[in-house]
């Protein structure tokens, strides 16, 4: 739990312009009210179950388990949610909150486009206006998602400033919010940014571990030994970890994007290569010696972010969770492996977690249980992976 100033250990806080302070305070007050409101929770549960298709399956990956020859592997199938990823969990919560607050317009940043698609979806459902900011580089590598957002009625603004990727989209969204606060809610997509966003997004994503814990208890009669999730800003990872944090026997592993390797400049592995800094929040960031935020790189647009959520930074500091780095190559191999082995095409983001499982599972005894969160489906990545393999296909 964060303290009253939104701190997780030394991390977190609110490093934003004065112009936005009353907006985040208003959001915090509204959230503290509605999170315990039975009517709000009933509506949200209905949306999650009837609209988004929850609960998502906990699937026993038998072929993968046999092939790797070690731990018993379960996949938490967030890829089966409506819109194809875990992002919808948070977005339905925030959109409902925004509606209760009387907001009529949602703005959002997006990297891979999954959060943008989820926000555009919720805006369509709630009859709200929607503007999505997306780095220009990302609009090119995720063209299909740009089309989906437009189809859903959202305006997509390509961001050309800085490195034209996710961090710039976040900054641009923050700038847009300072311009128009009264009717606009910033639907932030990950467990990052100023308090109370890391807590709000965490709580809405915690449904992943709430379900997986009950599901694994039902299937196995005990807790898992390992929980793996990919980790950029860290929303699916914190959602996958949250209800296990107090269960010390469960090893929590976040899989960061190493890009071309953590010993190169083309990486996005924040815990593995970054240092403590301040950018909207205090946490670990990839940065140079003068605190300039580094241009990061990963094949995965959704993990291509130079920071990590403050709660993950704390879990790293205390040693409660471990953060490993997975390269592009390993992730692409895992993308193909899961497709062939289980008939499940994971998002390239999620493939980072699968890649680490491929390394870890064979080293474990057969009585160990591992849960891997498949945070999204990989249809959106097929063209990019084909290009990575030197095959040019039309989307």
């Amino acid at each position: 739990m964060p303290d009253s100033k939104g701190r997780f250990g030394i991390h977190g806080g609110q490093y934003i312009p004065e112009t936005l302070m009353n907006a985040v305070i208003e959001l915090e007050e509204a959230y503290n009210h509605y999170k315990n409101d039975p009517e709000f929770n009933k509506e949200l549960t209905e949306l999650l179950n009837e609209y988004a298709g929850r609960p998502s399956n906990l699937y026993y990956a038998e072929k993968m388990t046999k092939d790797l020859g070690g731990a018993k592997i379960y996949l938490k199938r967030e890829d089966l949610n409506h819109t194809g990823s875990h992002k919808i969990n948070n977005v339905l919560g925030q959109a409902l909150l925004a509606k209760k607050m009387g907001k009529t317009r949602l703005i959002a940043e997006t990297g891979a486009g999954q959060h943008g698609v989820a926000t555009a979806t919720a805006a369509a459902l709630f009859g709200m206006e929607c503007v999505v900011f997306m780095g220009k580089v990302d609009t090119e590598r995720q063209a299909l998602n740009v089309y989906r957002m437009k189809l859903l009625g959202a305006d997509v603004v390509p961001v050309t400033s800085g490195t034209a990727t996710l961090k710039d989209a976040v900054s641009e969204c923050m700038r847009e919010w300072t311009t128009r606060i009264d009717d606009t809610h910033y639907c932030l997509g990950s467990v990052m940014g100023p308090h109370p966003f890391p807590t709000i997004v965490r709580d809405f994503q915690a449904v992943i571990s709430r379900e997986s814990k009950a599901q694994v208890m039902e299937k196995e009669g005990r807790l898992p030994d390992y929980v793996l999730a990919c980790c950029g800003g860290g929303s699916n990872a914190i959602g996958s970890f949250y209800h296990y944090i107090e269960d010390k026997s469960v090893n929590l592993i976040g899989c960061e994007a190493a890009g071309r390797g953590i010993d190169t400049f083309e990486t996005a592995a924040t815990i593995n290569t970054g240092k403590l800094g301040i950018f909207h929040m205090k946490s670990y960031f990839c940065q140079d010696e003068y605190g300039q935020i580094a241009p990061v790189y990963s094949i995965s647009a959704g993990l291509d972010y130079p920071g990590i959520g403050p709660e993950h930074a704390m879990l790293h500091d205390t040693g409660r969770a471990q953060y490993v780095a997975v390269t592009d190559d390993e992730a692409v191999n895992a993308f193909e492996y899961l497709s062939r082995t289980e008939g499940i095409i994971p998002a390239i983001e999620s493939a980072h977690a699968v890649a680490h499982a491929i390394k870890l599972a064979p080293t474990l005894d057969k009585d160990k249980i591992m849960v891997i969160t498949i945070s999204g489906r990989g249809d959106k990545d097929c063209a990019a992976i084909a290009r990575y393999r030197g095959e040019n296909i039309n989307e």
């Binding site: 490093y15 312009p17 004065e18």
Partner: protein, 258 residues
């Protein structure tokens, strides 16, 4: 009395801003000299940051150009030293930058050097009242004013923010980011009155001001006027030849608010 307070002693203050290192630090230094000559009361030196959340496109692009041209915090410090020792700049100067630039340098190391080299204050637009303690304690130790900002949305926060302010108060004229605006729609007189009711610290208005007419209008309510993007635009247009043009512009603004 802090040096900054002196800037507000002789009538309305004109406070120009410049992004350090765009196109190079030598040009920045020459611009600062011209600003002093033209009658600037206080000068804001922007240390470029890669992700300046409060800036509009003009200052954001200037920051990125400066970084691409190799500007660093240490090089900005060296320029400040030169301004104070070789170029006879005596006007109060404050840094405007972002939390991570100061934090990553080491807050103490940053403030110590800033104080030694003759910097009077620091503006950190991404450090609101709630987060200022970590910076303010050390700033005070080195005699540097951490400048507080007040926005059109501050409302009931005004007295809280203003009552702990030192140096001067930076009143943000409009919603949104820095940059030239044809119209400022905020009720500036009311905003300034609310600030003045809470503190005796002088207040200066910035964001969106570019013309002598706008400056004169703002100066009627506040103790000073801050202009950034309009100057950064001049530098972008004239490059190494900018100092003379910057001087002329600053003179026109100083005259307008007298």
């Amino acid at each position: 009395m802090s040096n900054i307070a002196k800037a507000f002693e002789n009538g309305k203050a004109f406070v120009p801003f410049i992004t350090c290192g765009d196109p190079d630090l030598d040009t920045t230094a020459r611009c600062v000299v011209e600003m002093q000559k033209a009658g600037a009361s206080l000068i804001e030196l922007g240390i470029p940051f890669s992700d300046p959340t409060a800036e509009g496109p003009v200052i954001m692009e200037a920051s990125l150009r400066a970084l691409e041209n190799g500007c660093t915090t240490d090089k900005v410090f060296e320029m400040v030293k030169r301004l104070r020792t070789e170029l006879n700049v005596t006007v109060p100067m404050v840094f405007m930058t972002y939390a991570n630039v100061v934090f990553s340098y080491g807050i103490e190391r940053f403030c110590k050097k800033a104080s030694e080299y003759g910097i009077d204050g620091i503006i950190l637009p991404d450090v609101p009242y709630e987060e200022k303690d970590e910076f303010d304690g050390i700033c005070k130790q080195y005699g540097i004013d951490l400048i507080s900002l007040i926005a059109p949305t501050s409302d009931e926060r005004i007295s809280m923010v203003a009552s702990s302010a030192t140096g001067f108060i930076y009143i943000v004229s409009s919603l949104g980011v820095t940059g030239v605006r044809s119209q400022i729609t905020t009720d500036i007189p009311s905003l300034c009155a609310a600030v003045k009711a809470a503190t005796d610290v002088p207040c200066a208005i910035g964001f969106g001001i570019s013309t002598p007419e706008q400056a004169a209008k703002m100066a009627a309510s506040a103790d000073g006027v801050i202009v950034g993007s309009a100057i950064v635009k001049i530098v972008a247009r004239y490059g190494k030849d900018a100092p003379e043009h910057v001087g002329e512009y600053v003179k026109s603004m100083v005259d307008a608010i007298k």
